[in-house]
Amino acid sequence: MVMPIANRFRIVEGAVVVALALGGAYAGDATSPPTHPSDIVLSASEHQAAEAFESRVRNYRTLQRKLEATLPKLPKRATPAQVDENQRALGELIRTARAGAKQGELLTPDMQALVKRILAVVLGGTDGKNIKASIMDENPGVPTLSVNDRYPDAIPLSTMPPQVLKALPKLEEDLEYRFVGERLVLMDAHAHIIVDFTDDVLP
């Protein structure tokens, strides 16, 4: 379940603070300006962009659950063949249902801008070089990506540093952020497909 965005952000004089809490919880209160160097103050429009994104993610998850319910239920202790069949069948259903889906439908331009700004802050700190190195570890990227494609089997999943996951908007179950090269991909980890992506997000 996605936590309501209002519960995750603190409102400070008309702005919204993302408590990134790198190395510790944000120690401010509702009436004092942010003091932690890693706090990000979001404008009202950025806050709206994040809320709208979480709403689109919820809608996607609703669609995914609805489509999965049409498939034979995967046994709790499934064979690899059953898991693979289920995964590929779900992927096909989602591709059909989102046949016209294009890049930028979930990660809209305003959300792309917000993601880049959040990552610039997280990776711009004193540990930024190490965090970027973790992201790029065994992350060769691929020349092209498309929405609804199967996530490339030939490349490992990028490591997502906890500091990055804590800073980005929370996702629904079965959806994950991953980096493919310097692209940020929104991945359906159950159907193993690319839901959306945005290019060149790393500073």
């Binding site: 709790k76 499934a78 906890p162 500091q163 804590k166 994950e176 193993h192």
Partner: protein, 310 residues
């Protein structure tokens, strides 16, 4: 057999144990390690006691190639004299494609003698592993990306983490699990090593920043990881012993930094698995290469909570 106790209860360690070393407060003393005094000495034998907890640790193995198969055969031979009950997998369980036939070639065939003998495998996921492995019956993850389980009849609990995607919810879960566990031995299992002397990946500093304070606070004694394709036992860090067991099938010859001050013992010229036996407060370990040599051995005494700690 002459065994030298490597004293980790140094002045610095004592300071750390009592929370004076910086970072998170420590509520337990350091683990102590006994190892052979010199390479010429015989390795420390596993006690092989009746009723003790016996298991092995394997990482970065699922290649489907000869290195994996040779080590798997060695594990089966080793079990004839050391009847371990289960295998802990520290991730990268399958490389490349994960079609049903890959589960056979990269897992079910090489470990068939162990599987046929009823040995259970407990999986943690690495960066090469599909998230759907959590549903694979033989990895005993029961659909969970992270989970814990208690060894039957022993006060030993394993915390199996997903270090490729450590969302805040997982960290919160881990803290609750660690806090709620009254087991004598708490063993954390995850793919990315907090400490490593390998050139390929090395220490994961971001993960360390998040996990290590919890391990210290809640009395974890041992961490098992992989990712780097070598065997390395790290000198106790803040009282915790870390193993890198990432050469279960893959192998990065020459990748260990021989001058690293982290290394207690390193080995990067053959595939290796780790055999472990826990009896009371002692953990015996032997690292076994694919030709059956014991390339590292010793005894770890668990961390004991400091009196008055929460």
């Amino acid at each position: 057999m002459s065994i030298r106790r490597i004293s980790v209860i140094t002045f610095v360690a004592v300071l750390i144990a009592f929370g004076c070393g910086g970072g998170a407060p420590v509520t337990a003393g350091p683990a102590a390690v006994q190892v052979p005094q010199s390479p010429a000495e015989a390795p420390v034998a596993l006690a092989n006691q009746k009723g003790s907890l016996k298991f092995t640790v394997l990482g970065d193995f699922g290649t489907g190639k000869r290195g994996e198969y040779d080590l798997a055969a060695q594990m089966a031979r080793f079990r004839e004299g050391f009847n371990f009950d289960f295998v802990i997998l520290v991730g990268d369980n399958l490389y490349g494609s994960e079609r049903p036939q890959d589960f056979q070639v990269k897992f079910e065939v090489p470990y068939k003698p162990l599987l046929d003998a009823g040995v259970k495998f407990y999986g943690a996921l690495g960066n090469h592993d599909s998230r759907e492995q959590r549903y694979y019956d033989l990895f005993n993850m029961n659909g969970k990306l992270y989970y814990s389980f208690k060894a039957p009849k022993h006060k030993v609990r394993f915390f199996m983490l997903d270090s490729t995607y450590p969302v805040p919810e997982q960290i919160d879960w881990l803290e609750k699990e660690l806090k709620g566990s009254n087991d004598d031995w708490k063993i954390a299992v995850f793919h990315h090593p907090l400490y490593s002397s390998s050139g390929r990946h090395g220490s994961d500093l971001e993960l360390r920043e998040v996990l290590e304070p919890l391990f210290l606070r809640y009395n974890v004694s041992v961490c098992l990881s992989g990712h780097d394709h070598v065997y390395e036992r790290i000198k106790p860090q803040h009282g915790i012993v870390h193993f890198v067991t990432g050469s279960g099938g893959q192998l990065a010859v020459g990748d260990l930094d021989k001058s690293s001050e982290l290394t207690a013992k390193g080995f990067d010229t053959e595939n290796v698995f780790l055999a472990v036996e826990i009896s009371g407060d002692a953990m015996y370990f032997n690292a076994i290469s694919s030709d059956g040599q014991v390339i590292d051995s010793g005894i770890i005494e668990r961390r004991v909570p400091v009196r008055g700690a929460p």
